[in-house]
Structures are given as C-alpha cells and as structure tokens.
C-alpha cells in the first residue's frame, strides 16, 4: 500500500496539471508542454526543484509573480545568479510554454487566463547561428561562419580563441569584445594568421619589477597604486596585479603579444574563424 504521505504528495504534484485541464484547450496544452520543458531544464535540485518546490534556487509555488516578471526573468535570466537567459536558449514557442507553466505554479495551480504570447526579442541580441550566412568571402578564400563558431568555442581544447577572446560577451576576458571590432574579414584573417600582430585593442605592456623579473602581456588597466596586465603566455590568460612601488621600468611601445600561429589552426580553419568573427560584428 502506498504510504499516506506519499499519496498526499503525489496528489499535490499533479495539482497544477489538473487545474490546467479546466482551462481552455490552448492554455492547457501550453502549460502541459511547459511542464516538460520545466522538468528537463529548470528542475535540478540545484535550481528550482521538480515541480518548482525549490532547491538551491528559489521555490516558485504560490509566489504570485506577475506575468511580466516571469517573462523578464525567463528571457533575460537573473544577472549575478545561475539563472540563465532562456531567451537565448529556447525558441520563442518553448519560452512561452515554460512561462505558462511557471505562471500556473506561482498562482496556486491556476492556469493563465490566456495563451502566453511573447513580443519580438530585443534588436541588440546576438545573431542566431541559424541566421548566419553559409559562407563569407575572406579575400580570395571562403570561410564558413558556423564552422568558425564551433572552432572558436571548441570545448574539447584546453586553450583556443575562447580562452582570451569573447564575441557578444561570450568567451574570454582579454581586450575588446570582437563583435566591436570594425574589421573586414581579410583584416581579421591577417590578425589571426600573423605571428604577434600589434593592435591598439590589445595593447602590449612590458614591466620590470624590483626583483629583476620582466612581465610582458596585454595591458588591462592602471590606477594610482597598481598596473594590471594579462599574461597570455599560459594556456589560460592570467590577470596579474603589480604594485607600482615594485615596478622599476615600463615599456608600452606598440607590438604584438601572442603568436596565434602557435595554436596550429589550418588555413581553412582561420578563414572559418575570420568569417565567424566578421558576421558577428555589432551593427
């Protein structure tokens, strides 16, 4: 026989779904679809827990959140928390479904009165991979942006483009966001293919400290007490903070800091990377 507490909990668990059945068929279908997405995307015990009971993240039951709040948090995430911007991760139909389900959780199991409809995403969003052109001319060569994206963010390598560089905020911490580089595909190709190309966006600095050690890298910042620079000679760039009082010499003559050819990409791979970076530029 099922223990009493168990049957109570099972009844509780099915409550939102039951309530949704009394709603209009469109709403009920949206809530039911949203429940599956929620259980597979949001229900980790590290996040909202199964059925939204809460885990390390907040519980959602009976929280009476407004529709606009739920839409905002689901689409844009909660910066500074593990809550991801699902506007970038789920297609709009799926977003609407999960929002409908969350609305049923926050309001004691009552399904939303109407089918949730979402307005168009903000225009500053990064271009989606499916919208990228298949090929881009890079000088005489041809690059494939989608292939370049995969190379840029290749998680099977310890180091690689993403260790230092970012595009639309995604990736590494060194220098300018590559989406803000207003360069032609060929110029990008040249920078990525050349050993130690100098660039104002990745300013070289060389410091000598009182212990006789020289530090070379990409300058990050300076204030009245310290200079900070990225040491890019290691597999992951190290941001070092050096006290001005320890510095005996500073050399900021223009120059390159990192030999991209050391990464061992083929010519075609560099073409693909240049094509990707070019098509991702902010307009």
């Amino acid at each position: 026989m099922m223990p009493r507490i168990l049957s109570v909990l099972l009844a509780l668990a099915s409550f939102p779904a039951m309530a949704a059945e009394q709603a209009s068929p469109g709403v009920a279908a949206q809530v039911a679809a949203g429940r599956l997405i929620f259980e597979t995307s949001c229900a980790s015990s590290m996040c909202h827990g199964s059925g939204g009971v809460g885990g390390e993240g907040p519980g959602l039951l009976d929280t009476n959140l407004s529709l606009s709040t739920v839409i905002g948090v689901v689409q844009r995430g909660r910066p500074g928390t593990p809550m991801a911007p699902f506007g970038e991760l789920l297609d709009p139909d799926m977003q609407a479904q999960v929002i409908a389900f969350v609305m049923s959780l926050t309001s004691g199991g009552r399904a939303p009165e109407q089918v949730v409809k979402l307005s168009a995403p903000p225009s500053d969003a990064a271009p989606s991979l499916s919208d990228l052109p298949e090929t881009v001319m890079v000088g005489d060569g041809e690059g494939r942006p989608v292939r370049g994206h995969a190379l840029f963010y290749d998680t099977s390598r310890v180091t690689g483009c993403r260790a230092c560089h970012r595009v639309y905020g995604n990736g590494g911490p060194v220098g300018i966001d590559l989406a803000d580089l207003a360069l032609s595909p060929l110029e990008i190709y040249a920078a990525a293919a050349a050993p130690k190309m100098a660039s104002d966006h990745f300013p070289r600095i060389e410091l000598t400290t009182s212990d006789g050690v020289t530090h070379e890298g990409v300058k990050h910042s300076e204030d009245h007490t310290v200079i900070r620079y990225f040491d890019v000679s290691t597999p992951l760039p190290v941001l070092r903070t050096i006290l001005l009082e320890d510095i005996t010499d500073v050399d900021e003559a223009p120059g390159g800091t990192f030999d991209h050819t050391a990464l061992g990409y083929s010519k075609q791979e560099v073409l693909d990377l240049a094509a990707f970076i070019h098509v991702m530029r902010r307009r």
Partner: protein, 562 residues
C-alpha cells in the same frame, strides 16, 4: 629538528609575531607545503577545507569537551551582509578567512571577530555560477573560486588581488569552481561544479603564478583510454562534474577526487560505462596523470554522484598496515579501497534506504539495478538528493568512528521526453517527486570506520544540511535548518548542547584556538537544496524555517568558569 620541537619553535615565533603586530595587517609565518602536510602538529589552526589533507574534519583540541560543552557561550559573531554562509572558514595563526557567497572575502581577527581586510569582486552581468563554498590558504596567499568562474589568489596579509584566471565563461558552460580548492605541493587544484551538459575536468594552477599547470579531463578524449566507454554523441556533453573537494596524500603525492554522474541527471538511455563518471580517481599532484580509478557506479541513471570526500585512513588489514581511502557516495554506500593501488577491499551501506540496486557484488559493483519507465512512477532511493551530498562526514582517530549524515531520501521517478543535451544547460530525462523514505527517518550515524558496524543514530529535524566536525573533546558539532547549532556526544550520539542562531546551518563547523582558548565557529544562513527538500517533505514545519541569514557565530567556554 623533530616535529614536536619544530612545533614549539613555530608557536614561539607566532607569539612574537602577535606581539610585534598588535594592529593589522597581520603578517603571520608563511603557511608552507610542509605545514599543510603536518597540520596535526598545529591543532590551533584549521588550514584546509576539511581541517587536514585526509579529510577528517577533526580537531584535536579538547578544551571543550562533553562535560563542559553545556557552558559554551558566543564569543563573537560577524555578519557578511550577503545571504547565506555556505563556505567553510579557514583559520591560520589567529586570522580567520571567510568567504561570503557572492565574491567577497573577509579576514577577521579569529579571537575577536574584528575585520582586518575585505576583498570585494564585482559580479559581471549575465549568468553566473554557484556561490563560493570554500577556500585554500598557503604560500602567503588566499585562493578561492568566484561566482563568475575565476580562480583568484589574494595576498593573505591585505586582501590585494595577486592573480586572476577565468576558467571558462560561466554563461556558456553553466559551470563554476568546485566547492573548495586544494592547495597541494605548490598547486591550487580545483574541479568543476554544475549539473549541466558539459565535459568536466580538474585544473591545477601554479599557486604562485596562476599559470595552468595541468588539466585532467574527467571524460577521456578520442584516443585516450576510456574514451571507448562513451557514446560518440555524448562525450563532449557528458557531465562528470568534479564538484566537491579532494584530499591529498603528500607521501604518495597523489590527490583523491570524486567524480559526479553522467548527463542527463536522471534517466540516461545511452549505453557505455562512461568513465570516469561515478568514480574515485587518484591523480599525480604534479602532473595530473591518472594513477588509478575505481568506478563505483558504471552508467549511472539515478544521479548517484561519487563526488563526495575521499577520507584517507591507515589501518591494519590481515595483520598488515594499509594506506586506505574511505569513500562515501550519494548512492548510500561507503567504499574502502587501497589508496596506493585503487584495489577494492570492501563496501558497506551507510544509508538504510537503498532501492536502486539489490546490493554490491564482491567487486563492489551494483547487482540488478532498478530501471525507469515512461508509463509509471518508480520509487527510487536514494533520490537525486543522495543519501548525502555536500554535507561532509567526520572521522575521529580517538573513537575510531566515522560520522556521516544520511538523508534517507527517496523520489517517485518517471521518464519524460526531453530535448537533447546542449552545452552548459541542465539536462534531464525524468521527472521526480521527493517523498519520505518508507524505511528510516533522516539521521546522522556513527560507524566503526572499517567494519561499517553502526554504533549510534541521531534522528535529525528535517534533513541535515550541515557538515560535521568532531573534536578531541569527543564531540560532534553541526546544526539544523531550524537555526540551531548543536553538539552531540561522539560516543553515544546524545544531543548535549544547542543554541538558536536564528537561521539554518548548512556550512561546516570548525574548531581552532587563539592564545590557548578553543573556539567553535558555525555559520548561520542556509544555502543548499536541503531547504527546498525539507519544506516539501515536512510542510507542517515549513513555517518554522527561519529566513536566510548571513552570520558566523563563534563559541567558546566562558572566560571565567561559572
């Protein structure tokens, strides 16, 4: 110079240092690799996450004992102002280092709570990782993993940043640094935390420079041994998070680390053992080379991580002293292996409610495991919460007992359709509803570490989210989600002291001493999945669970005995 002499010499030096610098910054004697390896000779300090490299969570201090613990009083308290105290503080030479959950570190005078310095790190926009849960100190530096998935080293004397490395972009990998870094032989070693589709690893950074020294992939790549145990479509997204914290044997120069489950969290259907998920691994501390591995649960579909602490013990077996590792897992079993070779010696159940397997065979492998269905719910115990999770155990060399939490967690689980894995995203193929165990209440139990004989059981209110501390005074310290810190008699499990701290406990109590006075530090402010689980299973107690605080309380005996 013998170890004892060295100890006295160090104590004298520390005393002189205190006299010389009555005001901050306190520049104590450097914490060397040597000191970390022999923390047993300086019980006044709590230098590593688990108190020693062996992960005992044991303090030899005995001033506070079973007879006088009732007279404990708060000596000081400190509030970080950030919700939740999840991190284990460290204490070195009279200074406490404490992490607030969101990128803030404090150095406090360990005797008074006076703030010596603080480090605040801006939290970038976008998705971040889990709260900081642990620190390492040594070589003049304090090391911690940030919520934006960087490893950072601070000058221990003043909190100034020395180096900072982004491990991966947390917006993309959905991951963060493991609970606590391990400083071993000049390297800061840190795993990956996150129940996401991702290829996890363990990283070692040169402690002085921050340069990545080695990376050990928890999922072998093409051409590496073990890669053949993965379906081609899954290995790059296979999970295997190394989310907790490791232990270290300086003589063997091996680190021991537990590895989590394969993705999806629940209900995977793809074949293969999926190495090194649900395994205990031994890695060379200098190179990251895999010395041995033991996979406790091949091809896990129940989220029964093997990520929790490897406890290092030396014990006689058949007349011969052996170097052993005792390894509890979320699946409810505790495994004992030879830590030089990885040879499986025995296993025993520390949880009373285990349904996912009928038992373990003579090689320590599960027998006749449960399966899941799309059509009906299956009662699975332990659930995704595990027989226990991040709430670590304690071992006392005085009692020979090993103390651990058992949540006795269960869930009704049913397969559901899910989208495939996407890099950095939670990936799950089953729904679950947490239920009470039909067999036993949640509790803390004491086991004869080697035989697994259960000596006593202490039933907890709700589930226990706190890690355990045991001391030379034969006490166990912990706390509950109702806001009470407590002490148990380590021999009997009787509760003999408690104090209402106003907010629940999910961190690890520690003990240390300054100028001959022993202190017990316990955080108040829960940050764990236990709270959500508890309100679900004990709705009648939900109203009694206080809001999340941000304070650490430090207790001691009254300065003049009453």
């Amino acid at each position: 110079m013998g170890e004892k002499q060295r100890h006295y010499w160090r104590a004298a030096l520390a005393f002189m240092a205190c006299v010389a610098f009555l005001t901050p910054p306190v520049r104590a004697e450097e914490i060397t690799a040597e000191r970390l390896a022999h923390s047993e000779i300086e019980p006044d300090n709590w230098l590593t996450h688990f108190g020693n490299y062996e992960a005992w969570a044991y303090s030899a201090l005995e001033q506070i004992n079973r007879d006088n613990v009732k007279t404990l009083v708060p000596a000081w308290s400190f509030a970080t102002g950030q919700k939740g105290i999840n991190s284990t503080p460290l204490v070195a030479d009279g200074v406490m280092y404490l992490a607030a959950p969101q990128n803030q570190i404090f150095a406090l005078d360990a005797a008074t709570g006076e703030m010596l310095w603080t480090y605040v790190r801006e939290i970038p926009s976008g998705r971040t990782a889990r709260p900081t849960a642990g620190l390492a100190v040594g070589l003049g530096l304090v090391f911690f993993g940030t919520v934006d998935n960087h490893m950072v080293a601070l000058d221990a004397a003043n909190g100034r940043e020395v180096w900072d490395v982004q491990i991966e972009d947390p917006k993309q990998c959905g991951c963060g640094p493991s609970f606590a870094p391990l400083l071993a032989n000049g390297k800061v070693i840190v795993g990956v935390r996150g129940e996401v589709a991702h290829r996890s690893y363990i990283n070692a950074f040169d402690a002085k420079t921050g340069a990545l020294a080695w990376r050990w992939w928890a999922i072998p790549g093409p051409g590496e041994p073990g890669h053949e145990t993965w379906p081609e479509e899954l290995w790059e997204l296979g999970g295997a998070s190394t989310w907790y914290a490791g232990s270290y044997d300086p003589d063997l120069n091996l680190i021991y680390w537990g590895v989590g489950n394969p993705a999806p969290m629940l209900g995977g259907t793809l074949p293969g053992d999926k190495l090194y998920t649900n395994s205990l691994v031994a890695l060379d501390a200098d190179t990251g080379e895999l010395k041995w591995h033991f996979q406790e649960t091949p091809s896990d579909i129940f989220d029964l991580d093997s990520a929790t602490e490897p406890v290092l013990l030396d014990h006689e077996i058949d007349g011969k002293m052996r170097k052993l590792v005792l390894h509890p897992t979320k699946g409810g079993y505790t495994y004992i292996l030879d830590r030089e070779t990885g040879e499986f010696l025995k296993a025993y159940a520390h949880s009373q409610t285990i349904t996912w397997t009928e038992g373990l065979n003579e090689r320590g492998q599960p027998i006749n495991r449960q399966t899941l269905s799309h059509d009906e719910e299956t009662l699975v115990c332990p659930s995704v919460n595990g027989s226990r999770g991040a709430q670590h155990s304690a071992y006392s060399p005085r009692t020979g007992l090993w103390y651990t939490t058992s949540l006795e967690s269960c869930a009704m689980v049913k397969l559901i359709e899910s989208a495939g894995p996407r890099e950095g995203q939670f990936y799950n193929s089953a729904s679950l509803v947490a239920v009470l165990s039909p067999k036993a209440p949640p509790h803390i139990a004491a086991f004869d570490a080697m035989s697994g004989a259960r000596k006593w059981m202490f039933e907890t209110d709700l589930v226990n989210g706190s890690s355990l501390l045991t001391t030379g005074g034969d006490l166990i310290f912990g706390g509950d989600l109702l806001g009470r810190a407590w002490a148990l008699d380590a021999e009997t499990g009787d509760k003999i002291w408690s104090f209402n701290m106003g907010s629940g406990v999910t961190n690890a109590p520690i003990s240390y001493a300054v100028d001959g006075r022993q202190y017990i530090a316990i955080g108040s402010g829960p940050l764990s999945a236990s709270a959500g689980l508890s309100t679900r299973l004990w709705p009648e107690l939900a109203a009694q669970i206080p809001p999340t605080g941000s304070s650490i309380f430090v207790f001691a005996l009254p300065e003049t005995q009453p």
